[in-house]
């Protein structure tokens, strides 16, 4: 199953390009986490607004901090945010979506849909602000806000898929064996939604990173570290003074990573789409 999918992915040029870009960024993130790269991001190592040179490959920002180091650290931050939000929201979404779909139009379904509906109706950035306030500016408030709102999309998709799979004969065969609902969903139903979850994960990752940028811009995001969003926020002043280093570094990195993920997501969707078979 994954064999043919991998083959199809390999044949997809843009997809492979996307995968490579993502892997490069992931590698950078790992290096930054383990202390190999981008460590001097908070230190003032040069004069203000130095242009790109041998000491500072991307130059320095307003405070004299090395832009390259900040960019690399920002990559780590982006990947970290993306991972945390994606893993938790996909997990939560799959669980609630499966519960919802399996119970058909029973009360768990109604409840989950109602909660999802309420959450979807709240303007996100207001919600993020509220969460930040409630958690008193805790550094995870941004992640919490995203997880709590992003799960709804996954849940709805999984719900639809579970409802479809529920009536398939292999589920009936499992019921004929006397297996209970929980076991059937876990063992037989959810594994058949993996292809959807993988694609949804890439989409969520992209959404998380973009959202972080805006939140940081608004001051609701990263506070103690550095992220591309923060760099962009800083650069809004710098650009007016004619210094583009910060802005270019952050926006180009952002563009590359998101582009890579989007290409990968499209390619994955094509590769995993089990419906496309010419007999």
């Amino acid at each position: 199953m994954t064999g043919t999918a991998w083959q199809r992915l390999r044949d997809n040029g843009p997809g492979i390009a996307g995968l490579c870009i993502v892997l490069v960024f992931a590698l950078v993130a790992v290096c930054a986490w383990s202390g190999l790269l981008g460590q001097g991001w908070a230190q003032v190592t040069g004069g203000r607004w130095e242009s790109a040179g041998p000491d500072h490959w991307f130059g320095t920002n307003l405070l004299g901090q090395d832009i390259l180091a900040r960019t690399l650290q920002g990559a780590a931050n982006a990947i970290e945010t993306g991972l945390i939000v994606t893993v938790f929201s996909i997990f939560l979404g799959a669980a609630l979506g499966a519960l919802s779909g399996w119970s058909g139009r029973g009360w768990p379904d109604e409840l989950v849909l109602w909660i999802a509906g309420v959450l979807d109706s709240i303007p996100f950035y207001l919600f993020a602000a509220a969460v930040a306030y409630a958690l008193q500016g805790h550094e995870w408030s941004m992640h919490v806000a995203m997880i709590v709102t992003f799960w709804t999309t996954t849940a709805r998709i999984v719900r639809g898929e579970v409802m479809r799979i529920k009536s398939r004969e292999f589920v009936e065969a499992a019921r004929a064996m006397g297996l209970n609902g929980f076991t059937i969903v876990l063992r037989h139903v959810l594994p058949n939604t993996l292809h959807i979850l993988v694609v949804q994960a890439t989409i969520t990752f992209v959404a998380a990173i973009k959202t972080e940028v805006i939140l940081s811009f608004l001051g609701l995001g990263v506070k103690d570290g550095v992220s591309w969003g923060l760099m962009l926020a800083e650069s809004s002043q710098e650009v007016l003074a004619g210094h583009f280093g910060n802005f270019l570094a952050a926006s180009i990195s952002l563009f590359l990573l998101l582009m890579g993920f989007n290409l990968l997501a499209d390619a994955l969707q094509d590769a995993l789409d089990t419906g496309k078979v010419i007999r």
Binding site: M1, E172, A173, A176, N180, H188
Partner: protein, 322 residues
């Protein structure tokens, strides 16, 4: 010849949403080691009976007795003990096998859930069951989609056999298969019945298949059982006009009255019993009597012609009501 029945269904009725009656007071029994062929058009209720017997849908009225035990309302725990003795094979093997689980996992599951066996015992059981259905052990690590439909159905049969059931329900088990593969699977089922003494409830709308495999035949129409006889008796001298019509259909002869089944807008099926009920087949019947339209026919046994065959030829029809 006349042993206690393995499966006995008494006056079973099931209805779905609104008053759509799926099964209307059906009674029949199956003796150990024999095959009952359940025939009828699509929507007659055949699959509903299979699901009712397997306790996949709840019964409204009536009883289901397995080896004398009333399992109609049995709780989950107690039902597990029964489930190992009673298994089902579905029509579409590519749909009835879990696509993301290997054959090994699929075959392990009934053993793990329905019986207490060690890993070593399970391994042996799987190997011997695969041999019984004519598959090699190299199928174990592969996925269902890697097999032909004939092989997939063998895997489904292996899954059903692995807990040593006494009753096997085959719900249109060969309908989705090619003719040559169909023949192979039928031979397999008959051989298994001979070797293991399994009783078979074989559901099909294909009379040619039924003729090969069934010892007894039961005819269903719109949720009711209209005729039940030994296979030779049914195919030799069908008693109910619908039984005769089914044999005609197999020769592509169809009375224009049956076109109504296909060309009238659907209406809800007749509700069960009660005064004012009619014969459910009256509108299409070529041999209809005046009373068929306002009196439900009784279910009677035809007079035994002195051969004492064990299963009487029963029919629900005014024509045979003396």
């Amino acid at each position: 010849m006349d042993g206690a029945p393995l499966l006995a269904v008494k006056d079973l009725s099931i209805s779905f949403r609104d008053d759509l009656v799926a099964i209307d007071r059906v009674s029949f029994s199956i003796r150990p080691g024999t095959t009952l062929g359940l025939v009828g058009a699509s929507g007659a209720g055949k699959s509903s009976i299979a699901r009712a017997v397997m306790r996949l849908v709840p019964a409204d009225h009536g009883q289901i007795l397995f080896k004398g035990q009333d399992i109609t309302r049995l709780g989950h725990r107690a039902l597990t003990a029964v489930r190992r003795r009673m298994q089902i094979v579905f029509q579409d093997p590519s749909a009835s096998l879990s696509p993301r689980r290997t054959v090994a996992q699929t075959l392990q599951e009934p053993l793990r859930h329905l019986s207490r066996t060690s890993a070593a015992q399970r391994k042996r059981k799987i190997a011997s069951t695969l041999a019984k259905v004519g598959l090699q052990s190299d199928v174990l690590e592969r996925y269902p989609h890697q097999f032909s439909s004939g092989q997939q159905q063998r895997i489904a049969i292996a899954r059903a056999l692995i807990t040593d059931p006494e009753l096997l329900i085959a719900d249109e088990a060969v309908a989705a298969l090619d003719v040559s593969v169909q023949a192979q699977i039928l031979r397999l089922l008959m051989r298994l019945q001979n070797e293991l003494g399994i009783a078979l409830l074989f559901i099909s709308h294909d009379l040619a298949v039924i003729r090969q495999i069934a010892d007894e035949v039961a005819v269903m129409y719109r949720g009711q059982l209209l005729e039940h006889a030994l296979a030779d008796d049914f195919f030799g001298r069908p008693a109910h006009p619908y039984g005769k019509a089914l044999l005609d259909f197999a020769e592509f002869r169809v009375d224009p009255r049956h076109a109504a089944d296909l060309t009238r807008p659907r209406h809800s099926r007749p509700t069960a019993g009660g005064p004012g009920a009619t014969c459910v087949y009256a509108a299409q019947c070529a041999e209809r009597l005046p009373r068929c339209r306002h009196l439900e026919p009784p279910y009677v046994a035809l007079p035994d012609d002195g051969q004492h065959k064990g299963t009487p030829h029963c029919v629900k029809c005014h024509l045979h009501d003396v």
